[in-house]
């Protein structure tokens, strides 16, 4: 069995995942990836997933080994924000041609690494495998090892070629690369009893900065956020954290579990979407830290901060309540975001008339059901045609979804808000919920809707 397929199997056999624990041995071997239907599939590949998980490490060079398709068609399309270095936004690819396909691309890859180090001298180079180069048998692990030795610099292989599976698998394989090659390779200058890690927060639109002030206020230090706005050293030193939080469903559960196993860093699963979720997460962090030896008084300070922040958030949301309550939302998104956003919307009286659960795990679905009251408004897979029908018939006042279905809503002349990867607005923490209400309000009450829905006079007469 190749190194990759044994890795994939190991990742699928995730003891930290309780869905997996409910399966038979045979089922487990098959992995959690649904078999894709040719002609009716739409997701990103494993390479995409690995890049999503790791590219937010801002000071390293991310080099994609493959033909132009993988990087050329996709670079510069996300909004993970950086507070400093910008190198992660530079697109690097070996852009292999026919000759490389015939003779192998390893030499070109090695030269590419050298060029990057000579020109940009980053603290590390991450090398991503893709389909064609995997097919022709390029051994990126060997090339990275040789380059590491030659240039005395970490060169990290990320072995997640697209055809290995889904974006979700790619997230995990990206996490594996960190565990195998990065974590534990450096020591922090000092440690404190208040050091934490966060896993699975990518700092899209700068969301990390909506919650970081809360930690600062409590004296909690984020030793490593994996991976939004992270520096290579943060990740390398992350094994010294005292406790950790895992966000974004289970994308990086393997990191969370192995960090606990190897370094005794306990974690919990939480979310910064929604007011009560944010408070709950802060409480959990404090509790875990105290359990790990931090002074008891952290708990009281945390409660005090929660009380004052909740009150401040509600006061700012209050003006929107009358304008938004009773409005109906169609929510199309995956995983943990569904339930945390649903509960946030319900908190101010918005009615969630339907939500998709396509990417949600069994547990997510249970949570959504609990929050929504029944299952009737949970769609496993809502085809665009049906989405369009719902909106066209005005069964919803606004749709919240990812960018791809945006135009289904707009063509149905219905307000739409982006809540996925490509969004520009930040919706995390208390600040994020205030922002969410503000944005929904702004969209719903834009005068443009009355104009665009007005038929042309000659259509009205006929």
């Amino acid at each position: 069995m190749s190194a990759l397929s044994s890795k994939v199997e190991a990742v699928f056999d995730e003891p930290g995942c309780n869905v997996n624990q409910g399966k038979s041995d045979k089922e487990r071997k098959k992995g959690c990836a649904k078999q894709l239907t040719p002609g009716a599939a739409a997701g990103g590949c494993a390479f995409d997933g690995a890049k999503i998980a790791l590219q937010p490490i801002v000071d390293v060079a991310h080099l994609v080994h493959g033909p132009i398709a993988c990087e050329g068609n996709s670079w510069d399309n996300r909004h993970a924000a950086s507070s400093g270095p910008k190198l992660y936004r530079t697109g690097f690819t070996t852009d292999i041609g026919d000759l490389d396909v015939v003779y192998g691309g390893e030499k070109r890859l090695f030269r590419a690494i050298r060029e990057i180090i000579e020109k940009y001298n980053p603290p590390a180079v991450f090398v991503y495998q893709t389909c064609v180069t995997a097919m022709i048998g390029d051994d990126i692990e060997a090339v990275c090892k040789a380059a590491s030795a030659k240039f005395a610099k970490p060169v990290i292989p990320v072995n997640a070629p697209g055809f290995a599976g889904s974006k979700n698998l790619g997230n995990k394989l990206g996490g594996e690369a960190l565990l195998d090659y990065v974590v534990g390779t450096e020591e922090p200058e000092f440690t404190t009893p208040y050091d934490i890690n966060i896993y699975g927060e990518y700092n899209l639109a700068g969301e990390l900065w909506q919650v970081k002030p809360l930690f600062d206020a409590l004296g909690i230090r984020v030793l490593a956020n994996i991976s939004g706005d992270a520096r290579y050293s943060d990740v390398a030193q992350s094994h010294r954290a005292r406790a950790a939080m895992m966000v974004c469903s289970r994308a990086l559960i393997n990191i969370a579990r192995k960090m606990e196993e190897r370094y005794g860093i306990p974690y919990f699963e939480g979310s910064f979407y929604g007011i009560s979720d944010t408070s709950e997460s802060l409480r959990n962090i404090a509790r875990l830290l105290v359990q790990q030896g931090a002074p008891q008084e952290l708990l009281a300070r945390t409660e005090a901060l929660i009380a004052s922040e909740e009150a401040r958030a509600w006061a700012r949301i209050e003006p929107y309540r009358a304008r938004l309550s009773g409005k109906r939302v169609l929510l199309i998104t995956g995983g943990v975001k569904s339930w945390s956003v649903v509960s946030a919307l319900q908190e101010i009286g918005i009615e969630v008339m339907g939500t998709s659960t396509k990417k949600s795990t069994r547990e997510d679905k249970a949570r959504i059901k609990e929050i929504m009251g029944d299952e009737s408004h949970m769609f496993d897979d809502l085809p665009p045609r049906e989405m369009y029908r719902i909106l066209k018939n005005s069964e919803a006042d606004i749709m919240l979804s990812g960018g791809r279905s945006q135009f289904v809503a707009l063509k149905a002349k219905t307000p739409w808000m982006d809540i996925n990867q490509e969004r520009h607005h930040a919706f995390a923490g208390y600040e994020g919920m205030v922002e969410l209400m503000k944005q929904i309000d702004r969209l719903l009450y834009n005068p443009v809707w009355t104009q665009v829905r007005r038929p042309a006079p000659w259509e009205e007469n006929s």
């Binding site: 397929s5 894709l36 239907t37 040719p38 002609g39 009716a40 599939a41 739409a42 997701g43 990103g44 590949c45 390479f47 080099l63 033909p67 132009i68 398709a69 993988c70 990087e71 050329g72 068609n73 996709s74 670079w75 510069d76 399309n77 936004r89 530079t90 697109g91 690819t93 852009d95 041609g97 026919d98 396909v101 070109r108 090695f110 030269r111 060029e115 990057i116 389909c131 064609v132 995997a134 097919m135 022709i136 070629p161 697209g162 055809f163 290995a164 599976g165 085809p383 665009p384 045609r385 029908r389 960018g403 791809r404 279905s405 135009f407 289904v408 063509k411 149905a412 002349k413 490509e422």
Partner: protein, 448 residues
């Protein structure tokens, strides 16, 4: 005039180029009731989709055969068959446009053979056209993929037919926007001619708001119309990338072609209108005589600001030729020209060197220029260099109305000249006390 060089780097930095398969997919998106299908792993399709959605701000029908590691090794017949059947069942398009990818090409799949087999097994597909084009990711660039796809579209769908004197085919390159295509149609129609345009993005991706929702493209060149191309008087090909397609159509149906390597600029449009006038035996309409003189006036007004300006351009060959020629005609100097793939046009560009390279190459060569022209990915480089930036080409994701940017015809040229002239006007250098320093050694010759 230019020396064409190839970047020697092993690592492309900030790619200018995009892949051939998605160029082919875009060509299929210019057909009516079509579903483009990429034969490869699903990730390639997802990236293509995101790219087009960001550029056009439209829903984009695009499907994948969803190959994985195992199916790649075993061969993709099953996946291709299933994909076609599923698409037929769910979306029932008139045509499925299939393009291969690096993955399936590396394996060496015989897709033509597969399709024969699938046709034999499934008579229910008899009404569905299947057009296949081979586009390995590691060969050529976006415009090559487009050119190859159009070649396969016309050779698969067209047959010789009795000639209709007033009917003309138009094969636009992928650098023609929706607005460009609309303008070309209007010009041709004003001569009493009937244009058949394929692919026609102005029908499918112009941003119209339909009353129903279709899972396929809605608008664009229909199969039925494309079939009639075999009976046109002539084919007008726009851009060198369309030469293959025009030649193939001629070979198959005998329809002769005339290739216009660009439709931006005074002379280029004079030739185009003269050609249409001779073809239709009609006079040049008054409207265009007037537009021509407006353009001449615009050129006179703008040349003050364009003359001697140094520009850096990063674009696919046909677009590079189009905008580079116009800028040269306005007195600008092409200081840096970077492109994605080979073309006979490259040597003719008025620059010392045309480099097949990336945006890092362009950035290095653009320092000190007065203008950078490339697609949206160049914005970071222009910012770093602090030089004005004109967006042209695909992708253009950080501006609205990418599809409606007009730059062909007299009118389009006029507006483009104004846009460029205005950029120069807004960035006039004001003289400063230290604008004219003496050389170092002279400054030091003063007594202290």
């Amino acid at each position: 005039m230019a020396t064409v060089t190839h970047s020697k780097k092993a690592c492309a930095v900030n790619p200018l180029k995009m892949s051939a398969p998605i160029g082919a997919a875009l060509a299929f998106l210019g057909l009516d009731k079509c579903m483009p299908l990429m034969h490869g792993s699903q990730g390639c399709t997802a990236f293509g989709l995101v790219l087009f959605v960001r550029h056009f701000r439209e829903t984009i029908p695009l499907q994948t055969t969803a190959m994985n590691e195992v199916t790649t090794i075993l061969g993709g017949l099953d996946n291709l068959e299933q994909a076609i059947l599923n698409i037929h069942k769910r979306a029932n398009p008139e045509v499925i446009g299939i393009c291969s990818t690096g993955l399936t090409e590396t394996k060496g799949e015989d897709v033509d053979g597969y399709l024969k087999l699938i046709r034999k097994r499934h008579p229910e597909l008899d009404e569905t056209e299947l057009v296949y084009v081979a586009t390995p990711d590691y060969q050529g660039a976006f415009q090559d993929g487009w050119g190859k796809a159009v070649t396969r579209i016309v050779t698969t769908l067209c047959e010789p037919r009795p000639r209709t004197a007033w009917q003309v085919n138009v094969l636009p390159g992928c650098h023609m926007t929706v607005a460009d295509i609309e303008e070309i149609r209007e010009i041709i129609e004003s001569f009493g001619l009937y244009p058949i345009i394929a692919p026609d993005l102005s029908g499918s991706l112009d941003g119209h708001i339909p009353e129903t929702f279709l899972p396929t493209t809605l608008g664009g060149a229909s199969v039925e119309k494309i079939r009639t191309m075999g009976g046109s008087a002539v084919t007008i090909a726009i851009g060198e990338q369309m030469r293959w397609a025009a030649e193939a159509l001629q070979e198959k149906t005998g329809v002769p072609f005339r290739l216009f390597d660009r439709l931006t600029g005074l002379e280029a449009n004079d030739d185009f209108l003269q050609f249409l006038s001779e073809l239709s035996k009609d006079e040049i309409p008054l409207k265009y005589r007037r537009q021509r003189s407006q353009l001449v006036d615009a050129m006179l007004d703008a040349h003050f600001f364009c003359g001697g300006k140094k520009v850096a351009i990063g674009a696919e060959p046909d677009l590079l030729w189009q905008i580079g020629s116009l800028l040269t005609e306005m007195g600008c100097e092409i200081e840096a020209a970077v492109t994605t793939t080979h073309s006979v046009l490259l040597e003719r560009i008025a620059a010392e060197e045309v480099l097949i390279g990336d945006l890092e190459d362009l950035e290095q060569r653009a320092a000190g220029c007065d203008l950078m022209v490339t697609h949206s990915h160049g914005r970071q480089a222009a910012e770093r260099l602090e030089i004005p930036f004109l967006r042209m080409g695909i992708p253009m994701f950080d501006r609205l109305g990418a599809a409606h940017k007009l730059s062909v015809g007299y009118r389009g040229t006029r507006d483009l000249i104004f846009e460029i002239g205005n950029i120069f006007l807004a960035n006039l250098h004001e003289n400063q006390p230290d604008s004219w320093p003496l050389p170092q050694h002279e400054r030091e010759s003063l007594p202290c």
